[in-house]
């Protein structure tokens, strides 16, 4: 097989946004993703915030790329029909000590070049957000703050990259990266042999090898391990768990801004934010751990989040919880993004330590990675035959009746509402499966369409989505999974 010009390890937001950016050039691209879908690691377990950029230490990559990303993320989301809303953010102070903290943040924000920052007094604050606790005394208002859909962006970028010819290889966990001796390109032009473990049809594990000229390490919390496989053992990534609760849409308008708490000796506080889908999100905790795949929620963590969120918004209805989840931040020992060619292994490009504000910075990070690859010798020749946007996915729930009637006349599948809570139609599920980088399991359908994200949490639509997956993938229902190998939904047929 011909070698890949760039083999990206990790199909999270960084891998996907960078793959899309690279797909504009005449390159052969591969993405190796250990899970059954893109965007299932840190990309899906976070606050989904478009940070304004007042928080990162001035002069760091985080500070610079956050500021740039805050501007470029919006047009990218628009072009890809990914939900994005600039709802503004507030950092709320409850004590005189907190107030000093706001002034420090304001100062840093100005140094970071963040526009329109302002301190609000209690009256202005409560006029803006009436549900805030009466003892909130001041807030830092950042109108450029926002919210968006991180895994929707990841799916959209993977879709564009695949449509432009990139190969997305899911269920491929990289277990070996062997640079060729002396780092000199082999006759096929490649420098690396990459070994990945995947499941064969019968469920057994098999190893596949790929050749690549450049390896881009975008492996999130595993970025240090992947670099070490290639021979660069300098990195250290420690996962930090954040637990969240997602509340019913009835609570989604309790606040309109993203409400942070002033950071203090007790940590960074808990945020209360609407989501782009109209729910209310509260969290996270921040607990360092060793296990890079433990995303279990805990009784203590959830209780802490609820208590802290009610400190900001006392009227929060804790009985409106839809679900809880946790994600891992990839905290690097250097506390800044690492975006460079490895000084140890030529051709290995690192995208490591991408913790907050990594999501908002992702378009800027991708641009920088493309530049790093070019500096490292990757030839970038623009293609004329590529498309960098995508057709807008149908969102039935947002259409008016006249548009619905036209759509159903064109394809009756759009008249069949599969998910009653989020009003997702069969047509949307079929489309999510058939698109490039399409859904192959229940959770992948959920992330693309919202089927199963509502009040009944898939109780109603699960059998119906299974039926569509089975038909579209020509697979027996008993072979279908929630999220890839090992997560089968049923245990065979009845007799």
């Amino acid at each position: 097989m011909n070698p890949f010009d760039v083999l990206i390890v990790g199909g999270g937001i960084i891998g996907a946004v960078t793959a899309r950016a690279l797909s504009e050039y005449d390159l052969s691209l591969g993405i190796l993703e250990k899970a059954s879908d893109v965007g299932t690691g840190s990309t899906k377990g976070n606050s989904a915030i478009v940070h304004a950029g007042f928080d990162p230490v001035t002069g760091t990559l985080k500070a610079r790329l956050n500021r740039i990303g805050n501007e470029t993320l919006e047009p990218l989301c628009r072009a890809l029909h990914v939900p994005f809303r600039r709802n503004g953010s507030l950092v709320v102070a409850f004590t005189p000590q907190d107030r000093l903290e706001l002034e420090r943040l304001l100062d840093r924000g100005r140094q970071n070049g963040i526009p329109k920052l302002a301190l609000l007094d209690a009256d202005a604050l409560h006029a803006l957000e009436p549900a805030l606790a009466p003892n909130a005394v001041a807030a830092l208002h950042a109108p450029t703050g926002g919210i968006f859909g991180p895994y929707e962006l990841t799916v959209a970028c993977a879709e564009v990259a695949v449509a432009n010819g990139a190969r997305l290889l899911t269920d491929c966990r990289v277990v070996g990266i062997r640079p060729d001796p002396a780092g000199e390109p082999a006759p096929d032009g490649a420098r690396f042999t990459v070994t990945a473990r995947t499941h064969a049809r019968d469920g057994s594990l098999v190893e596949e090898t790929y050749r690549a000229r450049f390896v881009l390490d975008a492996a999130g919390v595993f970025a240090d391990d992947v670099a070490a496989l290639a021979g660069d053992a300098r990195l250290s990534i420690r996962p930090r768990k954040g637990e969240y609760l997602l509340l019913d849409k009835r609570q989604g308008t309790l606040v309109s801004h993203t409400v942070f708490q002033a950071p203090g000796p007790m940590g960074k506080g808990v945020l209360v934010s609407p989501t782009v889908d109209g729910n209310l999100l509260i969290g996270p905790t921040a607990v360092d751990q060793d296990d890079k795949e433990d995303t279990a929620t805990t009784a203590e963590g959830l209780a802490y989040v609820l208590a802290q969120a009610r400190r900001s918004v006392p009227a929060l209805d804790t009985s409106a919880v839809l679900t809880s989840f946790a994600g891992l931040r990839a905290v690097s020992s250097g506390h800044d993004f690492v975006l460079e060619e490895s000084p140890v292994v030529k051709g290995l490009v690192l995208a490591a330590g991408i913790e907050s504000p990594g999501l908002v910075s992702s378009p800027a990070i991708a641009d920088r990675l493309v530049a790093v690859l070019a500096d490292a010798g990757l030839p970038l020749v623009r293609r004329a035959d590529v498309r960098m946007d995508r057709d807008e996915p149908v969102r039935f729930r947002e259409l008016d009746d006249a548009a619905r009637a036209r759509l159903i006349a064109r394809d009756p599948c759009y008249g069949h509402v599969l998910c009653r809570c989020e009003r997702v139609t069969e047509g949307e599920v079929v489309d999510a499966i058939r698109r490039p980088a399409g859904a192959r399991d229940l959770d992948a359908v959920k992330r693309r369409t919202r089927a199963g994200m509502g009040r009944c949490q898939s109780g109603f639509c699960l059998p119906r989505v299974l039926e569509v997956l089975s038909r579209e993938l020509a697979a027996e229902e008993e072979t279908l999974t929630k999220k890839g190998p090992g997560s089968s939904l049923v245990d065979g047929r009845i007799r």
Binding site: S324, D401, A405, I408, G459, E477, K483, S487, D491
Partner: protein
């Protein structure tokens, strides 16, 4: 199919073709409504009944023991015979007053229906209920495959022919969970235990006996799941005993390996449509606030079945829905009479299409020992075209297990004077079984004259 929005006009539109909807529609026809249309989102009527392949249905309604599908078949036949029209595979997306007239307007979609604007003189809400989920309980841990609500597992098993799992723990002793414990045992699965956070079973006593005791399945009361384990697929749950406030007691944790967790932890009336239409809901029942005709606060909209409040027996759903269907038919006739001018001669009648009661209604309130009451209001006087009903059944759920006790309806007058309207004695009463008391004749007249009515239970509560 044309790309236009279709328009239709009916007298009574019934949302949902489950047992409540079929009975409401049939009885609306029997009460004289000309055009009665049931809008059902599934490809068949019957609601949840087709997947309830066990027996125990119809003992009250038909005097015989039927399975769920058989019970649904009887009502489907009755609806057809009564001249009810059914629109399948069509989901109602919105409901509200008709801007083009005094009635109501529904918007619905379906693959062959397209987009339908349905104009109706009266509407019956019969959407049923949904199951409470893991999220509502906030159980911490991993988020693997293998966790289902009991009703979803029942559908997979009985309609799709798929086996949810082999080693099963059931959290919650609601009726569907109890039925599924037996069903999956019969299919060869091992049901390790049924856990119940309360100190008593949630479902019917007969189901505890027939589904658990007869199969040797342990019921662990005052016990819950405190952690889910397994990253891809469920591998086990950690259980714990709970104290009187339902808080887990440290040190009582027990790890149970299993591949499936079924949740049977309560049903929630499905009222997104009602809520969006601005219809006030009762926080205790989760259903609409209604009067004795089962009319909601939105004139011409009636509610029944599990969308109104969660029932334990389908027979009582059919009975209640019959009353809603009859009320809807009377309302539709009053609307058309008003429109045709038949009532114009009567100066007392309101000119509006929708008749309203003449004064503030009598409120029925939960008194000691009672959790929910339906209806929440009684009319004081007849409205234009709508005579007062001569018999009212007050349905309610008690809050705890009682030994020998007395159920009571008490009229409370404006000066605080109390007068008992109706009583019934029970040797034992449980929250899992709905109670009712009837009012008619002088008692009903006294009720309509009261300031409010208290529903209470008096006796020995066992926690």
């Amino acid at each position: 199919m044309s790309a236009a929005v279709h328009e239709r006009f009916v007298d009574v539109a019934v949302i949902g073709g489950g047992p409540a909807g079929l009975s409401a529609a049939t009885n609306a026809r029997r009460a004289g409504a000309a055009r009665v249309l049931v809008v059902e989102r599934d490809v068949r009527v019957g609601g949840i009944l087709p997947q309830c392949i066990h027996a125990g249905f119809g003992l009250h309604e038909f005097g015989t023991d039927l399975t769920g599908p058989e019970y649904a078949d009887r009502w489907t036949a009755a609806a057809a015979e009564a001249g009810v029209e059914v629109l399948l595979d069509t989901m109602v997306l919105s409901l509200g007053p008709d801007p083009d007239g005094g009635g109501l307007l529904l918007s619905a979609v379906g693959p062959s229906t397209g987009v339908l604007h349905l104009h109706a003189a009266a509407v019956v809400l019969a959407m049923g209920c949904r199951e409470r989920t893991r999220g509502a309980l906030n159980i911490p841990g991993d988020r693997p495959a293998g966790i289902y609500t009991a009703g979803t597992a029942q559908r997979l098993t009985n309609l799709e022919g798929l086996m949810p799992g082999r080693r099963i723990v059931i959290l919650g002793s609601g009726d569907i969970g109890l039925i599924m414990a037996r069903r999956l045992t019969l299919e060869g699965a091992q049901v390790i235990a049924v856990l119940e956070v309360l100190p008593y079973a949630g479902g019917l006593t007969r189901n505890v006996v027939q589904c658990l005791d007869d199969f040797g399945i342990p019921l662990r009361l005052s016990t819950t799941v405190v952690r889910i384990q397994g990253r891809e697929h469920l591998e086990g749950v950690v259980t714990a005993r709970v104290d009187a406030d339902r808080r887990p007691i440290p040190g009582t944790e027990l790890e149970i390996p299993c591949d499936t967790l079924l949740l049977s932890v309560g049903l929630i009336p499905e009222n997104e449509l009602s809520r969006d239409a601005g219809i006030p809901l009762d926080p205790a029942t989760g259903g609409a606030v209604v009067d004795e005709t089962l009319e909601t606060a939105l004139p011409g909209v009636f509610a029944c079945g599990n969308a109104l409040h969660v029932h334990d027996l389908v027979d009582y759903v059919s009975e209640e829905a019959a009353a809603a269907g009859k009320s809807a038919a009377l309302h539709a006739r009053a609307v058309s009479d008003a429109a045709s001018g038949a009532l114009r001669a009567d100066p007392a009648s309101a000119p509006a299409a929708a008749p309203v009661a003449s004064s503030a209604p009598v409120r029925l309130a939960s008194g000691p020992g009672v959790r929910t009451v339906v209806p929440q209001h009684l009319r004081r006087a007849a409205a234009a075209g709508l005579p007062l009903v001569d018999e009212v059944k007050v349905r309610f759920r008690i809050a705890a297990v009682f030994g020998a006790c007395t159920l009571r309806l008490t009229a409370v007058s404006a000066d605080g004077t109390r007068a008992v309207l109706a009583t019934a004695r029970r040797r034992r009463a449980v929250p899992g079984e709905m109670e009712d008391l009837g009012l008619k004749g002088p008692a009903l007249a006294a009720a309509r004259a009261a300031a409010s009515i208290e529903v209470s239970v008096e006796g020995d509560a066992h926690g």
